[in-house]
């Protein structure tokens, strides 16, 4: 059962790669690369080569997984496949929160953004008690700010409050 699931995953990855390769070949390379020369040695040669490698390997993965499961019908039977919606939602929410944090730093400043973000992450990963998380978040944000700002001279964005 587990082996069949692994093969189905491989098949999906292979199919995904083939689709990605087609998108790259027929849409992205023609629109995003202005070729200067029409012969073999042009600016799109390596991107095309990379796409060919991806497409062939994607196909190979699909063929190998088909061969191992025995038939395409069995391979495409996803009835035993249980999607982990909760896990996926957690992943999407986490990435969205991180992108929001990155976007907010230039506006609100590094320290102001980092304290609630670190506090939220500590809570999210199950660290207890909350007051301890609060202290960790403040101390960590302050140390990271001072270290990068003054020891490594990285110009981190300041808040309107000046830090």
């Amino acid at each position: 059962m587990k082996e069949k699931k692994n093969n189905q995953v491989d098949f999906l990855y292979g199919a995904g790669t083939v689709i990605l390769s087609l998108v790259l070949w027929f849409w992205m390379i023609p629109t995003q690369i202005k070729t200067r020369k029409a012969y073999f040695n042009d600016v799109a040669m390596i991107p095309r080569f990379a796409v060919i490698v991806m497409a062939i390997m994607g196909l190979l993965l699909m063929i190998i997984s088909c061969k191992k499961v025995g038939s395409v019908k069995q391979l495409l039977d996803f009835s035993a496949f249980k999607a982990n919606w909760k896990g996926m939602l957690k992943l999407v929410l986490f990435i969205a929160a991180l992108v929001l944090y990155i976007k907010l730093i230039p506006i609100a400043g590094f320290v102001i953004c980092t304290i609630p973000f670190t506090f939220g992450l500590l809570w999210c990963f199950g660290s207890k008690p909350l007051w301890k998380n609060g202290i960790i978040a403040v101390v960590f944000a302050a140390i990271a700010y001072l270290l990068f700002m003054y020891a490594f001279r990285v110009n981190l964005p300041n808040s309107p409050l000046g830090f």
């Binding site: 692994n6 995953v9 491989d10 990855y13 790669t17 790259l24 992205m28 995003q32 690369i33 202005k34 070729t35 200067r36 012969y39 073999f40 040695n41 600016v43 040669m45 390596i46 991107p47 080569f49 990379a50 796409v51 490698v53 991806m54 390997m57 994607g58 993965l61 190998i64 061969k67 191992k68 896990g87 957690k90 992943l91 986490f94 990435i95 991180l98 992108v99 990155i102 976007k103 730093i105 230039p106 590094f110 980092t114 973000f117 670190t118 992450l121 500590l122 990963f125 199950g126 660290s127 207890k128 960790i136 960590f140 990271a144 990068f148 490594f152 001279r153 990285v154 110009n155 981190l156």
Partner: protein, 491 residues
């Protein structure tokens, strides 16, 4: 010149960063879930703001430290912090259960130092002579060598050549983003000025090695993340000098095995550890003791995995081609410092070569001192809860990526690479071919296109020169053999 470079290393700043590098490396290796590549990727932004010599000391210190650090958690909690530490766990944990954890840790430390020195000697002997040969190489030979490295790394680093090559294809495609080198044409930039120079190396390194791990940990329960490991007591049984001397031959042989494996692309520390463990058991007068707390079973893998560091630097210095992910990250750091690894370094910038030799040797000495003094402290770090560590790593990922170009676009790219790394790891794809293809992608393209310009577009140039044709033939044979093996195992 060597004395001049040596004196530079004895400045307080360099020594301080060497100690910091080794300490951070040991911590990174010791805490399960943090790999050496993750540690070095997270240290990389810091190194960009330091003078070249300090930066080299920091990163090489971390490299050596991380290789040893993996053995601490292997011995104390039977969970190797690095893949290379897995062989150490077999005998180390057994000794710890007998109340001899300190003896096991000291054996691992001194074997790491001895193996590291063997690797250093092999680097000294191998790099100089190999550089004399590679100086005669032209672009066709370089292209052929890069193809061979990629094929070997793709085939060996994972269980499936198809998955390895697919990952390499993605890395190569990512390397083509930005302004192209010969005509200055822009590729895949979507009119975004932030992509004009291509993806920042740091975005990829931190995203793939640090952030993707964080995403994988999101799948764990709160209880798992908040769990405190039960650690074996250190004990009071210390390693005796004659016990160390008794393992000298074993450590030297294992060191040589490790260094030679390190030179070969894609194999890395874990293979070196297990191979030297098996060899030590084969040569041992008491092979039955292996797996039940034998000191030889700790000395062999530890000597081998630290010797890999020296060996892995041979192709970096002589060809500019990384053999594993850690050296790929090191190349990124050296390039950011204005050092371009390759045989020309031995002609134009010999002092930089000496910096690397001396940096590696001194990092081993510092590892010995710091390890001896700090074993009780580093042992406590194994207990650090992931629920506290991971949020800090996430913030460091963001600041670290931002630090290199003061550009938040790089942080978004880091998140993107992290997600790609997460998907690839979930699908059991190896990440090393992707990173190495990304690092050497531009050099590979320039070698290929320069060769084609030389031959007026004829690909036959690669088969008209003896070295490039032999290397390409070896690559094809290796690929065919690996495909046959994969088909036989249905992978």
């Amino acid at each position: 010149m060597i004395l001049e470079t040596l004196t530079q290393f004895f400045s307080p700043q360099v020594l301080l960063y060497l100690v910091v590098g080794v300490a951070v490396g040991i911590i990174g290796g010791a805490v399960p879930g943090i790999s050496p590549s993750m540690t070095i990727a997270l240290l990389l932004p810091t190194s960009l703001y330091l003078p070249t010599i300090v930066s080299i000391a920091l990163l090489l210190g971390a490299y050596q430290g991380a290789m040893f650090g993996g053995s601490i958690s292997a011995i104390l909690i039977n969970t190797p912090g690095t893949a290379a530490g897995a062989a150490t766990a077999m005998d180390g944990y057994q000794l710890a259960q007998k109340g001899k954890a300190e003896k096991a840790l000291q054996m691992a430390l001194y074997a790491s130092c001895t193996g590291g020195l063997v690797g250093c000697v092999i680097l000294l002997l191998g790099a100089q002579s190999l550089a004399q040969i590679t100086l005669k190489f032209g672009s066709p030979e370089y292209f052929a060598l890069m193809v061979m490295s990629l094929v070997l790394i793709a085939g060996i680093s994972g269980k499936s050549l198809a998955k390895g090559l697919l990952a390499a294809g993605i890395g190569l495609a990512a390397a083509t983003v930005g302004t192209e080198i010969i005509y200055g044409a822009r590729r895949f930039t979507f009119g975004n000025i932030n992509l004009a120079d291509g993806f920042n190396n740091l975005s990829m390194f931190i995203g793939l090695f640090a952030f993707s791990e964080v995403l994988i940990m999101l799948g764990k329960s709160r209880e798992e993340m908040n769990q405190k490991e039960s650690v074996m007591a250190i004990g009071k049984d210390r390693l005796k000098f004659n016990e160390y001397l008794a393992e000298m031959r074993n450590m030297i042989v294992s060191g040589v095995i490790g260094a030679l494996i390190g030179i070969l692309p894609g194999i890395g520390g874990s293979t070196a550890s297990f191979l030297s463990y098996a060899e030590a058991q084969r040569r041992s007068k008491k092979p039955d003791e292996f797996g039940h707390g034998s000191l030889s079973g700790i000395a062999a893998p530890e000597a081998a995995n630290n010797a890999v560091c020296g060996g892995a630097l041979v192709p970096v210095l002589t060809l500019g081609i990384p053999g594993d992910v850690v050296t790929a990250i090191l190349i990124g750091a050296l390039v950011a410092q204005g050092i371009h690894p390759g045989p020309l370094m031995f002609v134009e910038n010999l002092s930089q070569v000496y910096m690397i030799y001396i940096g590696l040797a001194l990092s081993i000495i510092v590892l010995g001192i710091l390890g001896t003094l700090g074993i009780p402290f580093f042992s406590k770090l194994v207990k650090v809860r992931k629920s506290i560590l991971i949020p800090m790593i996430i913030v460091i990922c963001v600041i670290g990526t931002y630090a290199s170009r003061s550009n938040f676009f790089d942080c978004i790219a880091m998140v993107g690479f992290g997600f790609v790394g997460y998907l690839l790891k979930r699908g059991s794809f190896p990440l090393s071919p992707m990173v190495i293809a990304f690092v050497i992608g531009r050099s590979m393209e320039s070698s290929l296109r320069q060769s084609l310009i030389l031959s007026s577009g004829s690909p036959l140039i690669f088969f008209q020169r003896p070295i490039s044709s032999v290397v390409l033939v070896i690559s094809v044979i290796a690929a065919v053999l690996m495909v046959r093996r994969n088909f036989a195992h249905g992978k």
